[in-house]
């Protein structure tokens, strides 16, 4: 039953990946979806070490940067946590 419950694919990079110990999670959400800010709050509650990184991160839903936390994240979406970049 758990395998078919609605989930969001959470992608974790760099310090977010290190804080959680994984590069992705299938995170359960209501079938009606969840606000991005609520999803972020729950991730922080589940992984306290992730909290500092979440405060400085940008969030990307299905490849698009979120302007604010009021975006609805739906089952099947990809939701990426982007800590500050460091390419080059």
């Amino acid at each position: 039953m758990a395998r078919t419950s609605p989930t969001v694919r959470v992608l974790l990079f760099a310090s977010a990946r290190q804080a959680v110990g994984r590069s992705s999670l299938d995170w359960p959400v209501p079938s009606s979806g969840v606000l991005a800010e609520e999803l972020v709050r729950r991730l922080g509650a589940e992984f306290p070490k992730l909290k500092p990184t979440l405060r400085t991160s940008r969030f990307v839903r299905n490849g698009r940067y979120l302007g604010n936390g009021r975006t609805l994240v739906r089952p099947g979406d990809e939701f990426a946590v982007h800590p500050p970049y460091g390419g080059g």
Binding site: A80, Y85, G86
Partner: protein, 157 residues
């Protein structure tokens, strides 16, 4: 160079934008920038520098990328540089995966009609690349002796 040039149209590295696990070639980048009407070409290459962290001597950097948004951002930068700096050709290449000390991690190149624009564009592109493109690096360090010229600090850690 001539023999390589004859095949250049088929090489993936002719793309203005590239994220690859394979080594980057500055020579290929320059050939990509050989376009008509471009009197000035500026190329920046960034390399993995030796260094130290608290964990020891840096032996490698791991570069991570979120590929789809990274490519989209790089393509935006390419368009940007054509519009703002009249760039005729652009190279925005970043390597990902594990890189040893001394390896080239990034090449930013731009060909413009005049050199002032080429310098301005290259500088703009590398700064933007570092701040808006989802790429991250993590240092890999190996515990080891400190350099002999600083023996007095060895016992302190």
């Amino acid at each position: 160079m001539t023999s390589l040039r004859s095949t250049r149209r088929t090489e993936a590295v002719d793309l203005p934008v590239l994220l690859t696990a394979h080594p980057l070639s500055v020579a290929h980048a320059m050939r990509t920038l050989e376009v008509e009407g471009a009197g000035g070409v500026v190329l920046f290459a960034g390399r993995v520098r030796p260094g130290r962290t608290r964990a020891g001597r840096v032996v490698a950097l791991d570069y991570e990328v979120h590929r789809a948004p990274a490519l989209a951002r790089l393509q935006e930068l390419e368009r940007d540089s054509r519009r703002r700096f009249r760039a005729r050709q652009v190279v925005l290449w970043h390597r990902v995966g594990r890189l040893g000390v001394g390896e080239v991690s990034v090449i930013v190149g731009v060909a413009t009609p005049h050199r002032a624009e080429a310098f301005a564009a290259a500088r703009y592109l590398i700064e933007e690349l570092k701040s808006v493109v989802p790429i991250w690096k993590t240092e890999r360090a190996r515990p080891g002796r400190r350099p002999r010229r600083r023996p007095s600090r060895r016992a302190g850690r």
